[in-house]
Structure formats: C-alpha cells, structure tokens
Amino acid sequence: MNMEPRGMETHAETEIAELFDKLHQDLPGATDVSRSREAAFAAFRQNGLPHRRVEDWKYSDLRNRLKSVPGFAARRDDTAAAAILAAAGDVYGAVDRYRLVIVDGQFHAGLSDLTALAAEGAVVRPLAEALADEGAELFEVPEIAADNAAVGLNAIFCADGLVLTIADKARLSKPVEIVHALSGDAPVSTAERVVVKAGAGSEVTLLETFVGGTEGSFANSVSDFRVASGAKLVAARLQTEAAGTTHVGTALVTQAEDSAVKLIGAGIGAGFARHQSFVRFAGENARADLLGITMVRGGQHVDQTLVVDHAVPHCDSRELFKTVVDDDAKGVFQGKIIVRPHAQKTDGQMMTQSLLLSEHADMALKPELEIFADDVQCAHGATSGQIDEDLLFYLRARGIPEAEARTLLVLAFLSEAVEEIGDEVVVEAFEERIRSWLSAKE
C-alpha cells in the first residue's frame, strides 16, 4: 500500500495475529477461500489496523480505539442463542416479517424462518456451508472496497453468516429482518458476512438490525447486496448496539441495469461505530438512494463513510445524511462520488447536514467528487449548524417548554431524511428510536 514503515505493533494487532494462527486451520471454505484469507491476512500484517494517517480513516482511528480484541465466540446452541437474541431486544416488535438470526457471528437456521421464505422463492444457506462449495466468489467485493481494511479483516476471520438467494421475479410478501445480535454477558469479536443475491426483477425489503453487545465487544460485519437487472432492494440498517461496543459495518452494493436500491442507515448505538457503504453501478439506468440518520452523544464516535462508483453511464445516485451530535460526541461523514471516464449522463447528488447540540460537539464532513466524464450532473452540499434560537423562541412563546421545543426542532431537522425512507414499517421503527434517543436526555 505504501512504503511508510509501520510503528510498533499494538496489543490489539498482536492479538489479531495470534487469533489467526489459532483459528485459520478450522475456518470454513475450500483452498481458494483459504487463499483469500491468507492474502487478506498478509495485507493486515503489512498495514495493521487502519489509523488516522490512512486517508480513509483519518477521522476514525480504529487502531487507537481498539485496545484489545476479544476472542470469537464458540457456536452456541439454539437455546443459548435465543436467550441472547431476547436480551438484545426486538426493534421491529409486532411487525409481520421473516426473521433470519445471527448471534455472535453465527447463523442460527433453527431460529430463522427458512421454510416460509423458501416458499416465496428465497433460499437461505449458512455461509459456512456455502463457502465450501461456492468458494471465494462469495468474498469478492467491488473494486472500490478491495483495499478496505475492515472488509479485509472480515475476510480473514469470517466463519459464518448467510447467503440469501432470491429467485428472479420473486416479490417477497413481507420484509426480511436479518438480526445481528451480540452477547451482552461477555465481549466477543464477530466477523459475519451476509450475501444477498437479488434475482432479476425481484423485490425485497431487508431490515438489518445490529443489537446487543457489551463493553469491549468488536463487531465487524459485511453485508453484500448483489442486485440483478430490474430488481428492487430496500435495505434498512439500524445499529443500536450497547455503549461499550466497537462496531464496524460495511454494506457492499453491486447493481445491474435497471435496478433500484435504497440503502437506509441509522447509527445510534455503540461507543465507536464506522458504517461504510460502497455502491457500484455495473449496469446502466440504475438508481441508488442512500439515506443516513446518525445520533450521537456522551463520548460516542460515529462515522458514516460512503463511496458511490458510477462505473457505467446513465445511473442516478442520491445521498442524504443527517447527523445530530450532542455532548462531547463526534460525528464523521465522508462521502465520495466517482464518475468513471465513459459514465456519461450520470446524475449524482449528495447532501450532508449536521446539527450540533452542544458547545463541544464535533463534526467532520468530507464530501468528495471525482469526475472523469464531461456530460454529467453532480453536486454535493454540506452544512453544519446549531438549533436556531429564533425558532426555539417562537415555539416557547406558544407555551412549549424548552426541552420539548428542542426535541421538536431536532425531529424537524431529521424529518426530511425520515420522509425519504418511504417504507412505513421502517419509518415507524426509526421514529421510535429517534424519539427514545431524544427522551433519554436528562
């Protein structure tokens, strides 16, 4: 990657190397999968954990954050996994949906709705099993994510997860929730991967929830959405992990022609979180909508990083990211739109806005456009501000107490992004999380 000599290996880096020595013989997959892991591990040995002198990680120094890396949990039986799942809470409560359950990085078929999904043309396999016969193809990632340290770290250790294959033209009658639950009793590391293959003309709404965890937990998941021609995929990712957790979550999206993807992310939990999205247009006339809602307080650090690769002509991308930062917390937004030389008629629009609720709240914004084609429309905007005192006075002058007025104004700030979600189930779940976040303020 570069010739800069590395500094001293950190304790966490030593632990990662030791974990790989101990585990790699037993990790699933045939020879080609092992080779992928070896290659990823070699890159890790060279670069270590990503840190602030690596441009992509400038504002989110994972090496500094990770003082220690806990071991990976042994696979639990379904009863134990169900208890962890129940303790982590049910974000979607009464919503009628299919559930696929991953606990501490391991997929639990026995807790998942496989039969009903299969009847609708959606087949689920444990990743461990799929790696044995589908091989390293499952680890292939878009070029823009190829060098990403977190994706590499996931490939090194990924032992399970799931592959969801949706048949051509299948339109699932209910949303599919993929729960990623972490044990709250003792810290573990996880490195699961979810691969979704949405067939041509299929339609699905995925609800990915990241819940649970405890002080020292380190979750590093990858969700890889491969969307065939004409398919419509909505993926709503809601992260509400416990305060002491370190969360790295990556969404990879590859879109064929005429497909439409809406990727919605809410980052509310974890002490340190990095949410990454990499979207690649592989076919023309596709559209991607990326929405993000981030709310941080206390000493939290939450990063939203996205890269959209217009590799082909005639695709549209829209990004709208809202961040609310309180106390001493830090928010980060990095967004890059790449337009390749022949990707004419690209339309890419990115907006990021942040609301700082305290004197010490910190927000880093880095919007980037890399445009190599000449007939394109691209724009980006970034704003950062505080609650408008005139608006606050107006509400108070009508009798609304200050705290309630502030809550109304924060909701108003987020409303534009919430309205864009469209899906009622997701809107309700997100609004509930937003309200409970706001009411938790002493």
């Binding site: 608006l391 006075f393 107006y394 002058a397 009798g399 609304i400």
Partner: protein, 251 residues
C-alpha cells in the same frame, strides 16, 4: 391586567439601550394601540413582554395580573396568558402545523393543571376557528408557516391566538404585508376575541388597522418612551400630521 413601570431595556449583546422608561397600564377588556416611527422600540417592547432573551431589562418591572413576569420563561408567560402575534411569523420546516398546534395547546393546559385535549376535541376546535379565519385544511397540512403567503402567515397567527385563548394579546404590526381584504379577515378575527376579560396591545405604523380594530387608548412611542397618550382620535391626528411633532418633543 398589565402594568409596565419605568421599563428600561437594552440589547443583551451590545448593550444598546432601546427602552428608556416606559409606563403603561392596560386594564381588563381594553385595547391599546402603540404607534411610532421605525426604531422607536415598538417591536422590542413586544419581544420583552413575550420573554425573548436577546434583551435585558435594566430597570423597572412588568406586572401581569399583579405579579412580575420578568423572571418567567417565555413558555411560562404563554401559559399564564400572554400571546405575541409575531410581525414575521417564523417558518419551521419539518414541524407539521397540526402537531405544533396540539403540542402548544396541551403544553399550556398541562402547565395550568388542566386535562389534555382529546384528538377529536382538538380537531373540532381547530376546524371551527380555522373556518372563521379562512385558514384552509391544505394550509394546516403543511409544515408550520412553510410556503404560506404573508397574509396566510398572519391569519395563522390569529388562529393560534384564537385556539390558545390568551388574556393579553400583543399584536406586533399584524397589518404589515396585508392587502385590504386580508386585513379585514385578520381584524375580524381579533375583534371576535374582544371580551371584558381580554386585553390587547396593537402595535402598528398605520391608522388603517385601527379603523378595523378600534382602540380605547392610543400611545405614541418615540426613542424608547411614550411621548403622547390619547383616545382613538390621536391615531387620526398622527395619520394627518405624521410623527414629527412628537418625535421632536422627545428629543
């Protein structure tokens, strides 16, 4: 109802003195008009009554129903019965008008120890008053004041006033930006609220509004002081001769 005693106030940021000793007593049921040239302190007085923190009272007091309100937060004053109709009603994107109205009405009721309104009762009240003020359902469905014309904003202010039923209404240049038809609708709305228990302070530049909302007392404000007080005929005199005579007198 309201007693303003020797009120001095300045802008908190730069210390510029705006009000230089205002004395004003408003009895229950009375309508007082305050007129005066630009920069005389009319809007400042209305903001100070409502509790805006940009201003600092350096001397004097404001008694509302016999008690000082200087230490009260804006929301406490509102719940006690003070209402300011803003000269420039503020647009709040993302806050639905109906949500805002319900939140405000119930917040005031809660502060006074009253039951919150049920949704049907709330809807009934809004529909009744909105009809009278020609505030359409379409307007009520929009975010607060967003995309409203100047006249629509002023009608929406009076709608809020009618729903919140204050005992002291302060109207800050409610006539600005209104054509003659809109002026009549707004004035009718205000007149409907006149009662022996409710008082109003109407701040305006022009006599025109006072043809519709006929005041009991007219004051001329200049350089932060009331320089002349009279009956409704004083407004006519001002319309004819301008402020020059009084402004000069205060200098």
């Amino acid at each position: 109802m309201l007693e303003i005693k020797n009120l001095h106030a300045r802008i908190a940021d730069d210390g510029a003195e705006i009000l230089r000793g205002i004395d004003l007593t408003v009895k229950p049921g009375e309508v007082h008009a305050i007129m005066g040239p630009n920069g005389s302190g009319k809007s400042t007085l209305s903001y100070i009554l409502a509790g805006k923190e940009d201003y600092e009272v350096t001397e004097g007091d404001i008694l509302f129903n016999g008690e000082s309100i200087l230490e009260m937060a804006p929301e406490e004053r509102a719940s006690a019965g003070v209402f300011l109709a803003f000269q420039y009603p503020i647009e709040i994107p993302g806050v639905a008008t109906m949500t805002f109205l319900k939140t405000a009405m119930n917040a005031q009721r809660k502060a006074r120890g009253e039951e919150e309104l049920s949704t049907p009762e709330f809807m009934r009240r809004v529909k009744d008053k909105a009809g009278e003020l020609q505030v359409t359902m379409d307007m009520l469905k929009r975010p607060l004041n967003v995309g409203f014309s100047g006249g629509e904003k002023k009608r929406a202010e009076i709608l809020q006033m009618a729903l919140l039923e204050p005992s002291l209404c302060v109207l800050d240049e409610t006539d600005s930006g209104l054509d003659i038809d809109a002026l009549r609708v707004v004035a009718d709305g205000v007149n409907k609220l006149r009662s022996p228990e409710r008082s109003s302070i109407v701040i305006t530049h022009y006599q025109r509004l006072l043809d519709h909302i006929v005041p009991d007392v007219v004051h001329v404000l200049s350089k932060g002081r009331i320089v002349k007080t009279g009956g409704k005929e004083l407004a006519l005199e001002l319309e004819k001769n301008g402020y020059a005579e009084f402004v000069g007198a205060a200098a």
